[in-house]
C-alpha cells in the first residue's frame, strides 16, 4: 500500500495503485452502509476484507465495479475514476456504455455463483468475450477451454451448471470472470455458499491466481486463506475500516476491541 504520491483532483488518482478509494459513502435510503471508506490496493496485491455481516464489505466491493453507485467520495481503478467523468471541478454521470467498458477490466465472483443456467460451462465462459469483446467463436472457445482446464474443469466444458457441484460451479464462475482478462478480481464471499468439503478446491484456484500476480479483493470468512495468501487484511465494521494491516499481525495481535471481538468468534 502506498500513499506517497499526492493525489489532486486533476491527477484523477493516477498512480501505482490498482484501486484507490477516498472517503466512499453509500446509503440505501436512510440506511448508511458505507461511512467514508478510504483504502488503496497496489498492483498484484491480494486484500482480504473481513467483518461481521452488515458491515458493508460486499457493498464496498459492488461499488468498485459500479454495481452500486457511491453517494460521496471517489473510487479509482487503475487510475480511472469509476462511474463518473471529471471535467474541472464538475462530475458528469457516465453513460451506461462507458460504465460497461470499465467493468470489462474488473472480474467479479459472487457468493451464489450466478452462472447462466441455460448455458453450458463453456458457453458461460465464452458469453462475455463473444458478446462484449467481439471475439471470434473459435478463438473464444479455445481460450475458454484453456481457462476451464486451468480451474481443473477441462472435461466439464459441455456440462450445464446444475449438473456441477457448488465448488465446480464457482470455479466455472472464476473462469468466466477471467475470460475478459481483467486487471482486478473481486470475490464476494466466494466460498460461503459451499459445502465445507468443497471450499478447498475454490480456494486453491484463488491461491494460484494470487501467485500469478492477479490483483484481488476478497470478501471472506476464511481466515486461513487470509493469513496465508493475503498481503493485507482489512477489518470493517459498521461501514468503516476499523483496522488494517498485514494479515498475520492483525490476526495474531488485533489492535482494536471490535477486531478482537470479531476474531474471537471466527477463529
Amino acid at each position: 500500500m502506498s500513499a506517497t504520491i499526492p493525489y489532486g483532483a486533476t491527477s484523477a488518482g493516477a498512480g501505482p495503485d490498482m484501486v484507490r478509494a477516498e472517503g466512499v459513502w453509500k446509503n440505501f435510503g436512510s440506511l448508511e452502509v458505507l461511512k467514508g471508506i478510504s483504502l488503496e490496493v497496489a498492483r498484484g496485491e491480494v486484500m482480504c476484507l473481513i467483518g461481521p455481516s452488515g458491515s458493508g464489505k460486499s457493498t464496498f466491493l459492488r461499488c468498485i465495479n459500479h454495481l452500486e453507485r457511491v453517494n460521496a467520495g471517489r473510487l479509482w481503478v487503475d487510475g480511472e475514476l469509476i462511474g463518473y467523468r471529471q471535467k474541472g471541478e464538475r462530475l458528469y454521470e457516465m453513460h451506461p456504455r462507458e460504465a460497461a467498458r470499465q467493468r470489462r477490466d474488473i472480474g467479479m465472483v459472487f457468493q451464489r455463483f450466478n452462472l447462466f443456467p441455460h448455458l453450458t460451462a463453456l458457453q458461460n465462459v465464452t458469453c462475455a468475450p463473444t458478446l462484449v469483446g467481439k471475439l471470434k467463436k473459435q478463438v473464444a472457445d479455445d481460450r475458454a477451454h484453456e481457462l476451464l482446464t486451468r480451474v481443473g474443469l477441462g472435461d466439464k466444458a459441455s456440462t450445464y451448471p446444475n449438473q456441477l457441484s457448488g465448488g465446480q460451479q464457482q470455479r466455472v464462475a472464476i473462469a468466466r470472470a477471467l475470460a475478459m482478462s481483467p486487471k482486478l478480481m473481486l470475490f464476494d464471499e466466494p466460498t460461503s455458499a459451499l459445502d465445507p468439503e468443497l471450499v478447498g478446491e475454490v480456494l486453491d484456484v484463488m491461491r494460484s491466481l494470487a501467485q500469478e500476480g492477479m490483483t484481488m479483493i476478497v470478501v471472506t470468512h476464511e481466515m486461513g486463506f487470509a493469513r496465508e495468501v493475503a498481503d493485507s487484511l482489512v477489518f470493517m465494521d459498521g461501514g468503516v475500516v476499523v483496522e488494517t494491516g498485514a494479515p498475520r499481525e492483525v490476526i495474531a495481535d488485533p489492535q482494536h476491541a471490535r477486531t478482537r471481538a470479531f476474531l474471537s468468534k471466527v477463529l
Partner: protein, 300 residues
C-alpha cells in the same frame, strides 16, 4: 458386528436381505373400480343417446365435416390465429421490455398501451377496427403541416382480413406483455448482475441472459393464449369478417337450417387444431427446459 464381518455380505449383494425384492399384495381400490364403472355406463348412455337422437343430424355432420367451404374456413381460422399470435408475441415482448426499461418514456408508453388494450373488450376493439376506414378516410404520410409524400385510402388498401388480424393481435399483445413481464421478473436478480459485471449492456443482458431463462415461465401461458386465440377468432364477425370457421359454419347452417351438426363440425375442427397445438407446446417446453433439468446419473 464390526465393519469387516459385514463386508462379504455387501459384496455378494443377492444374499443381502436388504436387496430382496418386496412381493407385497398391492392395496386394493374398490372405490376407483366402482367410479370407473358408473362413469363408463353414463358415457355409454350418452353416446347411445347422441347416436340415436335425430337432432344431432349425423348425416349432415358427415356431409359437412370435410366440405370444401369448411376446410377453407378452418385454414383461414388457422391463418388468423398464427398471424395475430406472431404479431402479438413480438409486440408483447417489446412492450414487456419497454415496461421494465429504465427509460421512463418507454415504460410510460407501454403502460398506457396496456391500460387501453387490456381495459376494453376485444369485441369492441374489433368493431372499431372494422370502422377504421370510416374514421380515417385518408392516411397521409409526409411532414406535419408540410408536404405529403403519399396517401393511403384505408377503405381500398386494407383488407378486412388484415383488420381482423390487427384487431386480434393488438389486443393479445397487451396480455402477452404481462406474461413476458412475469417471465422476466421470475429470473433471479443475480443473473442480470453477473451479466452487468461482465460488461454486457442492458440490451445484451436482456436478450442473451434474461429472456432465454424467462422462456420457461413464458411458454406454458403462451400456449394457453394461442389456444385461446384460436377460439377468439370466432369474434372476427364483429369486424365484419365472415370467412372464419365459426362464421362460415353459421352461414351454411342458415341455408340448410341445421345449426347443430354444423356447430359440431366447427367444434371438431377447433378441437383438432387445439390438439396439434398441445403437442407443439410439449416439445417447446422440453426445448427451453435445457439446463433446468437434472439428467439421470449426473449427481447434484
Amino acid at each position: 458386528m464390526n465393519a469387516q464381518s459385514l463386508r462379504p455380505g455387501r459384496t455378494e449383494g443377492e444374499s443381502d436381505p436388504a436387496r430382496e425384492r418386496i412381493e407385497a399384495v398391492p392395496l386394493r381400490h374398490p372405490g376407483r373400480w366402482l367410479a370407473a364403472g358408473v362413469i363408463f355406463v353414463a358415457v355409454a348412455l350418452f353416446v347411445y343417446g347422441a347416436a340415436t337422437n335425430t337432432a344431432y343430424n349425423w348425416d349432415y355432420y358427415a356431409k359437412y365435416i370435410f366440405d370444401q367451404r369448411i376446410s377453407q374456413a378452418a385454414l383461414v381460422t388457422l391463418e388468423l390465429t398464427v398471424l395475430s399470435m406472431v404479431i402479438a408475441i413480438v409486440l408483447g415482448v417489446l412492450l414487456a421490455v419497454m415496461r421494465l426499461s429504465p427509460n421512463q418514456v418507454l415504460s410510460g408508453v407501454a403502460w398506457v398501451y396496456l391500460w387501453v388494450f387490456r381495459g376494453t373488450p376485444v369485441y369492441v376493439q374489433l368493431v372499431f377496427w372494422g370502422l377504421f376506414a370510416t374514421i380515417y378516410k385518408q392516411l397521409r404520410v409526409g411532414v406535419p403541416f408540410g408536404p405529403t409524400f403519399f396517401t393511403i385510402d384505408p377503405a381500398s388498401a386494407i383488407d378486412v382480413f388484415w383488420l381482423a388480424v390487427i384487431g386480434l393481435a393488438l389486443n393479445e399483445a397487451a396480455y402477452m406483455a404481462e406474461i413476458v413481464r412475469a417471465g422476466i421478473l421470475s429470473v433471479d436478480e443475480g443473473q442480470g448482475e453477473a451479466a452487468t459485471a461482465l460488461g454486457l449492456s442492458w440490451w445484451q443482458t436482456m436478450t442473451h441472459v434474461t429472456l432465454p431463462q424467462a422462456m420457461r415461465v413464458i411458454i406454458p401461458p403462451t400456449g394457453n393464449e394461442i389456444i385461446s386465440m384460436l377460439k377468439t377468432t370466432s369474434l372476427v364477425t364483429a369486424v365484419p369478417f365472415t370467412l372464419d370457421l365459426y362464421t362460415r359454419s353459421r352461414d351454411i347452417s342458415a341455408e340448410t337450417f341445421t345449426p347443430i351438426p354444423l356447430l359440431l363440425v366447427a367444434s371438431t375442427w377447433y378441437l383438432f387444431f387445439t390438439s396439434i397445438l398441445m403437442v407443439g407446446q410439449y416439445f417447446l417446453e422440453r426445448y427451453f427446459a435445457k439446463g433446468a433439468r437434472i439428467t439421470a446419473g449426473a449427481g447434484r
